[in-house]
Symmetry: C2
Subunit: 404 residues, 2 copies
């Protein structure tokens, strides 16, 4: 089989990209969704309680839908966030990516289409693609997914007799990678459009609580009076990425179907109980405040550094989340820039990675930089290195850069 193994294996295009799990020493990581090390919570009391008081629960198989108490806690958490759901609406998963995978298993058949913003969260692309779907890209502006653009696309498809997309995938709060948040009227319009066409909406909102200023906007799930939204949640950005516990909120019927498609014999009850101990005893609220404070300071530091060292670069100020989406002058090739930056010790991700379709019309001059993981000194030094990379690469396109 050693010779046939490659023939057996899936097309490389269906594979999920491998990102460096941690930066090499000396490198500054602006590429990862890792948490800031100083805000990782101390879970030792919670884990000890989980193992001592709940041994039979935490070490045996757990219900495939998740621990009942954790489902109830998540439902209450969502309800207090404006989306009244009950425990039966919650399926616990091994993180939000696993939740998306289960949604794909539930909804997609080979040849289906899925709507995504251009750009979009890159890790969602290979997951959806691996279920045989292709993408319909929709424009995005400073208020998020462009609903008028999508309406035009859907009307055209209907006239052409093409099947409706199976779902619309979006990150409405602190969008990854652009950082924009969709206002409430845009959200309502998106739901009206989706309902009119009979399309489900998958709301992926890992950063929702990582808000630095301003009032929160109702989630799509909170505005969902027609039961068309499946919301993906995670403890990765609330507590710690390594926990690998997330959820999907949907109707009980869909939760039951997805539980049957979840063939993993249940998510780890030890981590579920540890999380529950943390959340149910009030530590989460305090912890979120710490997270907001830390990432606000990191954002401010990076914004100041970019304004100082990269004056050619524009961005929309994010009011939460982990990322700045940098727009370099037209003509800059961000693939080349990212490769250069990575060589001189600051890892960044080129914007081209965030487009589901390889369309030649997509802009080539974006970079995503994360301010979540680095400390303030690293942020300053990383932006300096990025500016050095830009100085080196930008010279390759002087006319366009200079005209900006």
């Amino acid at each position: 089989m050693s010779s046939s193994a490659h023939a057996f294996a899936r097309r490389a295009s269906e594979l999920s990209p491998m990102l460096p799990a941690a930066a090499p020493p000396g490198n500054i990581a602006f590429d990862s969704g890792h948490a800031f090390p100083g805000v990782l919570p101390d879970l030792s009391v919670e884990a000890a309680t989980a193992l001592a008081m709940y041994r039979a629960e935490t070490l045996q198989y757990a219900p495939r839908t998740g621990l009942p108490e954790l489902r109830a806690w998540i439902a209450q958490y969502m309800t207090s966030d404006g989306a009244p759901v009950s425990a039966e609406d919650i399926l616990v998963t091994n993180g939000a990516k696993h939740a998306l995978e289960l949604v794909c298993r539930l909804l997609l058949d080979e040849g289906d289409t899925v709507v995504m913003t251009a750009p979009t969260y890159f890790s969602a692309i290979p997951i959806i693609r691996s279920y045989g779907a292709t993408f319909i890209e929709v424009r995005q502006d400073h208020a998020g997914l462009d609903v008028d653009d999508l309406a035009g696309i859907l009307d055209q498809r209907r006239r052409d007799g093409k099947p409706r997309p199976k779902f619309i995938y979006d990150v409405p709060d602190f969008h990854n990678p652009t950082g924009v948040t969709m206002p409430v009227d845009r959200r309502a319009a998106l739901l009206d459009l989706a309902a009119a066409h009979g399309i489900a909406v998958v709301e992926d909102s890992p950063y929702r609580k990582v808000r630095f200023e301003g009032a929160s906007v109702p989630s799509l799930k909170a505005l969902d009076h027609r039961d068309i939204v499946l919301q993906l949640g995670t403890f990765s950005k609330l507590m710690a990425p390594g926990l690998r516990v997330g959820w999907v909120a949907a109707s009980p019927a869909l939760v039951a179907r997805m539980a049957q498609l979840k063939t993993d014999a249940g998510s780890c009850p030890l981590t579920q109980r540890t999380i529950l101990e943390f959340c149910a005893h009030g530590r989460l609220t305090q912890h979120i405040a710490r997270v907001q404070e830390r990432y606000r300071a990191n954002r401010d530091r990076m914004v100041a550094a970019v304004r100082r060292d990269l004056p050619d670069v524009s961005f929309v100020m994010p009011h939460g989340g982990y990322y700045l989406w940098l727009t370099f002058p037209n003509g800059v090739d961000a693939d080349e820039l990212a490769a250069c930056a990575n060589r001189i010790g600051v890892t960044v991700i080129s914007g081209s990675r965030f487009f589901a379709c390889g369309d030649a019309r997509h802009p080539r001059n974006h970079l995503r930089v994360a301010y979540s993981h680095a400390d303030e000194q690293e942020i300053d030094e990383g932006v300096r290195r990025l500016a050095a990379a830009y100085a080196a690469v930008g010279n390759g396109a002087p006319a366009a850069a200079a005209s900006h």
Copy 2:
């Protein structure tokens, strides 16, 4: 979408069966693969160490292939079991079912075929089916998978111009549900046949160390000189089911491919490190001895109870594992018997659940009973209840039963 949700969702036949996670009070559970509560290890020191000494590792994203030290430990564990592999051959997964799922994602396309014994491990059936494959069932005897039967099937398929199956799935040690272990010459013959036809072999061996007597037989992976075996492993039966950590051992090229198909952002590093602390400090060896002793005693108790209370019933004595595969007299309908037993307080699983194909020629007179979870008093009482159910149901087929 509430009306269209069911239309969107997958066919029920593709769904994985939901088993009760735990027996209701008063009920005796002979249906589950739960561990005996008294042998669940105390992991509090290991978890505390993982959280205190390895916070940045255990709470951040982990490498998608698994913690390097755990991969190395598993490789050494397999090497000492006769299969010389290295860390690069190991992909850490969220349990053995997840490992099987990744193997399916790697190898299967819609319309492929997979070889399974009849009967086989029932949880593998919907996983493989959900990747669009159909099954070729092969006979099994007291020495496991009938290689001559399979050779005939494969030759016939070749003559008919049918494509070769993508892989052969088997549980060669303490087979689930039959408990039989394949002798070494049969294993060698199976590998020769698979290699001659260019078919991969998926060795699922969760119970391998749960051996009560006799020398262990080399694993298929240990006998694999042609790199055709993918071995699935798990800590569920070695330590505790709730940990949800397993692995697949394959060539580094296939491991790299499966890591890309593993879209879950890595398995939980907290559980991985906790397991590693337990294993690397020598506790696993002691623990396995305890597990063997406990389950040997449980098996002996159940064997004695069945011989005493169900004299019509035959079985092959298992030398390890969790299960007895009971053969009732011809004419007994085990579906009916299981339903009756479940009503009177002992949950068992009808043998009909363990066949991949709904073939009318399959025997209807088998039950699988697990001796792993119940204590000795429960084993006695559970078998008494099963005998009562048999007395009630067996009357429905008196002639056949009496002629046995």
